[in-house]
């Protein structure tokens, strides 16, 4: 019960989610609750089928929830229509995918600029250049994705994720398709962005990557298991009510 001059970026309250597969009903998320504070660098781990991808989709406003509540940047995202969700995605969330997910036939600069165009932001070109500068790719702006290495592609994807200055960056297995050295570079980049005050959630099953983060949430069978804190965690990260282990 310290401070709390820091507002939470994410509040997930007793979220349930189930899918119907044929006759079977799969309960994918069971009463999941947690909070992410501004400036957190958090790892979400768990074996496949544990529900971490579903949780990630919900955090990214790509999927709906059955019950419970999800507050992003202080406002509930429930009962939003497709267009409002698209708006939230473009302004508040930056996605980084395992397979980079850049659009081919568009230059790095155009790829980074695209979220700004969808959110109708002014000075889009200048902002896109700045974002590419942050990830250290100012000299590759005119290149198309197939002219870039895997690490460079992922850095373009990260530039695209931060270009709108979102409250939250969601990275789904960002190092999964990279060799370990390049993977480390990407993790370093995340650390740097985190130090600049960005909130980042990394979904991963690589323990090395998870160990690099301040906090780790572990999922198993749709239940949030336990939370690991890194020894030298930042003081402002609250230790209360961050996890309700069932």
């Amino acid at each position: 019960m310290e401070k709390n001059n820091i507002e939470p970026v994410i509040e997930v309250l007793k979220v349930n989610k189930s899918y119907t597969m044929g006759q079977e009903k799969l309960h994918v998320l069971k009463n999941v609750s947690f909070t992410v504070q501004k400036g957190d660098l958090l790892a979400l781990t768990g074996p496949s089928g544990s529900g971490k991808s579903t949780l990630m989709n919900i955090l990214g406003c790509l999927d709906s929830i059955d019950n419970g509540d999800y507050l992003l940047d202080g406002t509930s995202v429930l009962k939003r229509n497709a267009n409002q969700l698209a708006d939230i995605r473009s302004k508040n969330i930056g996605f980084v995918f395992q397979n980079f997910s850049l659009l081919s036939r568009m230059s790095a600069l155009e790829n980074v600029e695209l979220p700004l165009l969808y959110s109708e932001t002014k000075n889009s070109k200048k902002k896109a250049m700045e974002a590419l500068d942050i990830v250290g790719l100012s000299d590759r702006m005119k290149h198309e994705p197939n002219q870039l290495s895997g690490g460079q592609r992922q850095r373009v994807a990260i530039a695209r994720a931060i270009v709108n200055d979102p409250a939250l960056i969601l990275a789904d297995e960002p190092t999964g398709n990279l060799d370990s050295k390049t993977g480390l570079e990407i993790i370093d980049l995340f650390h740097r962005l985190n130090k600049e005050g960005r909130t980042i959630i990394v979904v991963t099953h690589e323990q090395d990557v998870a160990n690099e983060c301040h906090r780790q949430l572990h999922m198993l069978d749709g239940v949030l298991q336990k939370e690991f804190f890194k020894k030298r965690k930042k003081p402002q990260i609250s230790t209360d009510k961050t996890c309700e282990v069932k």
Partner: protein
């Protein structure tokens, strides 16, 4: 800005699938070029019919003897139009500006050792004005010659060539049925009109034709020129009433003459060529529709192929309408490029038709605008469903799509 990037993307993605895009466009290309060249053929046909008909003179009524009928069976042409009938018409019907009696027969025409069989037209001086005949060389028949059995002749260009080849016939003596005539002029060629060739005739004074050449007292036809602005059908009725009275035809009995109304022929011809144009245009339009289906097919394939791309776009904030617009632009681009190419080919085709076939093809700006806007509409119409399908994709499903 988003629009330009979207357009650029659309161009790049069409270019990336060159062969497929061209094949999809092919339907539109064929459709538009068919529409352009068929409509050109239609309006060419219309124009040539119009020129031919107006070459015969507008505001023209032609009175001819009717079929002689005996108990419902035709027994040849009745001979009952007289010079007096013509006089009565010109005197009592005020909308008749002028008329000319016409006698026709065929005869052997000789000059030195050359001869030809041709149609002889005996007529008055007004004939030239009424029937739009112009003189190429020499002069017309004078009034005195027309009324007083003048032995002068004006040759049609075909006859002049047959008898005189390149020589000037004016002032030469020819023999018609063995009777001497002096050639005073040559008609300017009008071209074949299908059912008669006005270039293949010799024109002589009607008095000469009746009394000297053929020895008949009845007229073959009366050509009547109606005052400009008068209603042809009204004048036609007045003439009918007058002639029935003069020929003492009982009420209920058939006319013993026929009146041909040039305006009616013109209207019929216009209608026929109009129908012809609609028919050709319709067939071409169907191929344009088929082209649209081709585009829709390719767009559906494209949307399926690019499901992941749609997912990525949605995850970085694309709204449904952004996606809709993107695919719609692509299909419109495809159909309008196809349309433009089709217009080029169609115009080239029309040129070739005009050059290498007896038909004339006239490309109108109307048909260009029509077929281009139609091909754009085809792009919108057939692109909408695939684009709508793309826009409605669920972002997670789209992202997971392999």
């Amino acid at each position: 800005m988003l629009f330009w990037i979207t357009l650029k993307m659309a161009i790049k993605s069409l270019y990336a699938n060159k062969l497929r895009s061209i094949l999809a466009m092919l339907g539109i290309i064929i459709g538009v070029s068919a529409v352009i060249s068929m409509l050109a053929l239609g309006s060419g046909a219309k124009q040539s019919v119009m020129t031919r008909i107006s070459a015969m003179g507008k505001n023209l009524l032609v009175v001819r003897p009717g079929q002689k009928r005996h108990r419902g069976v035709s027994s040849g042409t009745s001979q009952n139009l007289t010079l007096e009938d013509a006089d009565a018409i010109v005197k009592s019907i005020k909308d008749v500006k002028m008329l000319t009696p016409v006698i026709r027969g065929s005869a052997q025409v000789k000059f030195e050792n050359k001869n030809t069989r041709t149609s002889i037209t005996g007529t008055a001086i007004t004939y030239f004005m009424i029937n739009n005949f112009e003189i190429e060389k020499g002069r017309r028949i004078r009034e005195q010659e027309a009324e007083r059995l003048g032995r002068v002749a004006i040759l049609g260009s075909t006859v002049a060539e047959a008898l005189f080849e390149k020589k000037n016939p004016v002032g030469k003596r020819i023999k018609i049925k063995g009777i001497n005539f002096m050639v005073v002029g040559v008609l300017k060629s009008k071209g074949d009109q299908g059912w008669s060739n006005p270039d293949d005739q010799v024109i002589i004074p009607y008095t000469t034709a009746m009394k000297i050449l053929f020895g008949i007292s009845k007229l073959r036809e009366i050509d009547i020129y109606v005052r400009e602005g008068a209603e042809l059908s009204k004048v036609e009725n007045e003439i009918t009433v007058l002639l029935r009275k003069r020929h003492k035809i009982k009420d209920g009995a058939d006319n013993d003459f026929r009146i041909r109304n040039q305006a009616e022929i013109l209207a019929t011809a216009t209608q026929i060529t109009g129908t012809f144009t609609i028919l050709l245009g319709g067939i071409a339009g169907i191929s344009l529709l088929v082209g649209g289906i081709g585009i829709m097919n390719i767009m559906l394939v494209t949307v399926t192929e690019r499901t992941r791309e749609i997912g990525i776009r949605k995850s970085i904030g694309a709204k449904n309408r952004n996606i809709l617009l993107q695919f719609l632009i692509e299909s419109i681009l495809m159909s309008s490029i196809g349309g433009a190419i089709g217009i080029g080919i169609g115009m080239g085709g029309a040129e070739l038709i005009t050059k290498y076939s007896p038909f004339q093809a006239i490309v109108s700006s109307f048909s260009i605008i029509l077929s281009f806007s139609f091909s754009v509409s085809v792009g919108i119409f057939f692109g909408f469903y695939p684009a709508y399908k793309a826009a409605g994709l669920n972002p997670i499903d789209a992202l997971r799509y392999e």
